[in-house]
Symmetry: D2
Subunit: 378 residues, 4 copies
């Protein structure tokens, strides 16, 4: 046993120094978060990597956790499933990365070996899926243990912008895979995106990879709609009047849209999608739903539509990296606020009042001091 | 004007003789049908063909009409959207068929020119779609006018079996396109079909084109399940105990099915499909729904499933004909009862009590006398 | 007979006036062209439309014809398969267009009814395909008869630019369908286009619908490469040194390109494509080939590549129109020279010396005088 | 170092006993094979498994090696890339299999982590691909070391038939992926397979998953054609008269075939495929080519065809297993001869004279003695 552990860490830096404590954001039950000391993670399986976090961010899902909506997240859990960092230790089974490599951490952990991974459905990996900041400690910390590192990390490109690329941990592949790919967006299409929050805007940014002719953005908040305009939306619809569907049908001369993409997660917005999808069109769900929705099968049964659901697989991360590097996707646009990691409690406050604060994504950076300490330890 | 009409019929047989009357099944409002005299149809547009019906059949949809469920069907309408026959007259614009050609009449009329037809979505043809026996007089008669004949008729192959091939008017393309193609059935798949009526059995027959490893058939009626067994189902589930979903999950070791195909059209059976679809699987709806269904988005949002609806396009009819000719599909299996066309009232009785009568499809044939009269007229 | 002809033209303008003569560019055998008087075309079949040409252009294929390379084109033929115009007469079977409609004429004539048209393969239409300016008189004239008008014409959008949209007759769908669609260009891809002539540039413009990360343009002519740069190419390779393939492999770190698109039509450029395609990549042929090519099966057999050929189907014209209208495609960029139609002989001279003249596409316009004469005739 | 090796083998059986020698078929240069003593393989990397071979077979490629055609295979190499066996030892990184598991060994080794593996292109794995019996010692032995075992082995199903399932190591996925999938065989299609050797027959068996209407088998050998008839071919063409293409065109009324599948690997048979592919059809290459082929681009450029090449990826092995288990595929049909493994020299003689001997696949079994010895060792 001792032998094994020793073996498993032979690829780590020679010595980690005295410090085995780190700071981390810990969930202590509904409404309770603390930035506190925790033991640094260590290698537990041959496929593990220990990553020193340099940049992280907060996801809307983290707010749901904070409200107590996700029973899988128990008190004592370090939150966060997005991040950029540097590999400090690697198990013997890690072959694609080396100590010192800067990496993007995927929100989805993939063993690559199970039947789901073999089909590219990493979201349903039998040994992974969404586990970081959920059933395992996450990335809003100084260090994180990433299981199945070879399938769950992506090389950070030389000269890349951490702030931009941390958007590849979750939000951009989510918008792209669940919204754009499932919505089968094509050149010349008319697309509607319901919800102009960060994930809806990620759909908006990545839908433009396929040159749709029109993208309608639907939201209750004019400020967010204004951002959507800057990001490439061709028409804005404030749904506060309860007639969003009517407006879309007018804009499309009664035809409806080729792709209706739901990026909110409640029955009302799901209803809008059903009302505006054209015959032969697609409804692509991106939102996280907490309760059942109604489906107007009496109207839809003969409309030749498809409706898809999806937890992001992040299998498109390499492709997204190439598009970012080519300059055709500029994810930093989504970042509105920046904090030192140890200011994360304040970052949660701002992000928790996103509409009022005009916040989209807030970026968290482990500050110089933390970094230098980590460096000296490595 | 006179000139035009004359022109439009120049391709008809030289003279139609004295008879301009035919027999037809006429809907006279909910619960009221009559087999009565009606004027023979005539060419009204350059794309029209007048087809003398030799074989027809009754569809479950006809029973819905009879109940008054379809407001688009008004009193005075000749019913029927399936049939085999011989072209008696053709408008000037008809170029793919000639007088005397034996043809299969598609339940879907396709102009081939509109945007939907250009995409292969004949079901939503702007000048056609399902109109025969709905908004236009149909095929349960001695003659029918088929608009856009070039897009709505298919050549009857030499030596073909009318009884078998009349199944290509509707039920086989419906089962195949809405169920099998939309369900993306693949070799090795596990498939569940909910509903072992004629259309569910059509799904069963055509699903086997793709060599799935298992096909579960779910129905309340053991007699129909026994038929499904003969047709190739690998497991039978009687859902009368209310635990059909549970049984399917047991059979699949908790994984669920790759494709769940709904062939009934009510919320309860739609629910079964939601409960048994595997992560990454497909729900393909075939049934005609009269009311909304619930959709368990709280369970499905992260399951990577697709759900499709479709009115049959019959664009696969040429492919189905080839498979029938190759012997790999034997549609006559679906035929349980045969009647002379002028016995159609009795045929409706039998078909209306299908479960009790053990009826699947009932075939209607214009008898010799009718045929010879028609011949002499031509 | 007389009756029929009369009928067929009942939808034409009330009277065509006295003039039955028009000007047209006539091929009189290799090397011989003349702009001369010819009878105006008349309706011959119910599906015909007579279109008064307002804008046309010259295709590289026309130069091949002029050299005598295409035996299907016989002396006396009016050339041209691209054009914009106004419908002057329409046969009885034409239902999608009306007299006075401004239309884009597709280079491909499609009956929409035959088996190939039903599959969207209009290029192989059994009653059409490429016939205008080939086996039937074409568009480099004041009028043209377009058979199967409903499948061969597209509505000119209000406010459209004729100069830009005449590029939708042939070159843009050719580049898009044969090059981009067959090459399966995807976001993040590395694409090489061999040949920076008009059709190669059409590939370049439409490849960008899919946000590839890199597009390499390969040609012998630095001027054309400079144009490619302006049109969005990310790297330029002058192949004059005979080492184009080597340069591409260097640029891709030895991996090769995801899509190699051949837009010349000779064995040497086809060889380059074979040498640069990555394992798992696609070679999409756009060029017109006059002789066999070698295929390095000894190197390619285990490389998992696909190679496609295609005559344009123009089935994407409606989609391309939407993208042009959205501003995401600007086809007028391809136009370098403009002539009055009756200057067409000079236009051929310029286009025949394209490299020297810096010519891409030359646009021909029936001048005011011609137009007013046509108008007065209508 | 010692520690590592010790660790790497901790999952092996407690002791392997005294024997570290095994028998194996060794290639000693062109024309020279020997069944001789060799050291048993041992774990070298954490992903390795040592498999005791129970069943193997000989591939046509092995005969090419024997002739000296493959320079990558050097003297001293143990041949064989197909096999069934039992895991005797497993490295620490192996997580999907355990000691004692019976497995099917894929001819393709897949790390699952590299970019090609992530795309399902295991054939081009950066750390694997076809290496067994090529650049690493292979399966015609008592034991074999399988690198990247988790990606390169498949669980042998309970109650399976070794003789049948050893066909899943190579020949069935090769026929299916390179021929049937790449050939896009669909219900109703007309398919031609050029070459009725074992791999052509594997194409024939798996093409029937998709219910094509007709399958023409083309070969020079009437005996093999007779086998093809039993296996489901609908027409047989002996190409000895040099007019195979002509016969196919007659059978298809001049249309040609939807899919032409090349399963020989020489220019002459590749030519036949070019001559018989229909407009819009596919040529799928399966054969291993040693020299360039001619491609009639002057005839094919406008025919809208696709041509594919492929080294098998074996990504369909799980699907093929399901189809075998369902009874819809019966691979044992391919087996004509059976030998004890230590009779392998005789098996090579028979297989090397396959036509004369009427041999398709020859199965090699490690006999009881070998097995019991192996067992006692484990």
């Amino acid at each position: 046993m001792t032998t094994v552990e020793l073996e498993l860490t032979t690829r780590s830096a020679a010595t980690l120094g005295a410090s085995t404590i780190m700071k981390a954001l810990v969930y202590h039950g509904p409404g309770k978060l603390a930035w506190e000391d925790r033991p640094r993670p260590t290698i537990q399986d041959p496929g593990d990597a220990i990553v020193r976090i340099t940049t992280s961010t907060i996801c809307g899902t983290d707010l749901h956790i904070l409200k107590g909506d996700l029973p899988s997240v128990t008190a004592g859990r370090i939150l966060g499933h997005e991040g950029i960092g540097v590999i400090e230790q690697a198990g013997l089974g890690v072959s694609e990365f080396h100590i010192g490599d800067k990496v993007i951490i995927s929100c989805i952990t993939a063993c690559l070996k199970c039947d789901f991974c073999r089909r590219g459905m990493y979201s349903h990996c039998r040994h992974g899926g969404w586990i970081l900041g959920n059933t395992l400690d996450g990335t809003q910390a100084e260090y994180v243990r990433v299981p199945h590192a070879d399938g769950s990390l992506y090389s950070f490109p030389p000269g890349g912008d951490e702030e931009a690329l941390v958007m590849l941990s979750d939000i951009l592949p989510t918008g792209f895979e669940c919204g754009v790919l499932n919505g089968q967006v094509k050149p010349g299409d008319t697309v509607a995106i319901v919800g102009a929050g960060p994930v809806g805007l990620a759909v908006l940014l990545t839908a433009q990879f396929y040159s749709p002719a029109a993208i309608y953005m639907i939201d209750l908040d004019d400020k967010r709609l204004a951002v959507a305009k800057q990001f490439g939306a061709t028409a804005l619809i404030n749904s506060a009047d309860g007639h969003a569907a009517h407006h879309v049908m007018e804009l499309t001369d009664g035809a409806g849209v080729d792709a209706a993409i739901e990026a909110v997660g409640i029955p009302a917005t799901f209803d809008i999608c059903q009302a505006i999808v054209a015959a032969g069109g697609r409804i692509a769900n991106v939102g996280v739903h907490g309760k059942p929705a109604g489906l107007h099968m009496e109207k839809l049964w003969d409309r030749n539509i498809s409706l898809t659901t999806r937890l992001v697989d992040t299998f498109t991360t390499p492709m997204l990296l190439k598009v970012v590097e080519s300059g055709k996707l500029q994810p930093h646009k989504l970042v509105t606020h920046r904090f030192a990691m140890n200011d994360i409690m304040r970052a949660y406050d701002i992000f928790g009042n996103a509409a009022k604060e005009g916040a989209l994504k807030v970026v968290l950076k482990n500050n110089d001091k933390a970094n230098s300490r980590a460096s000296s330890a490595a």
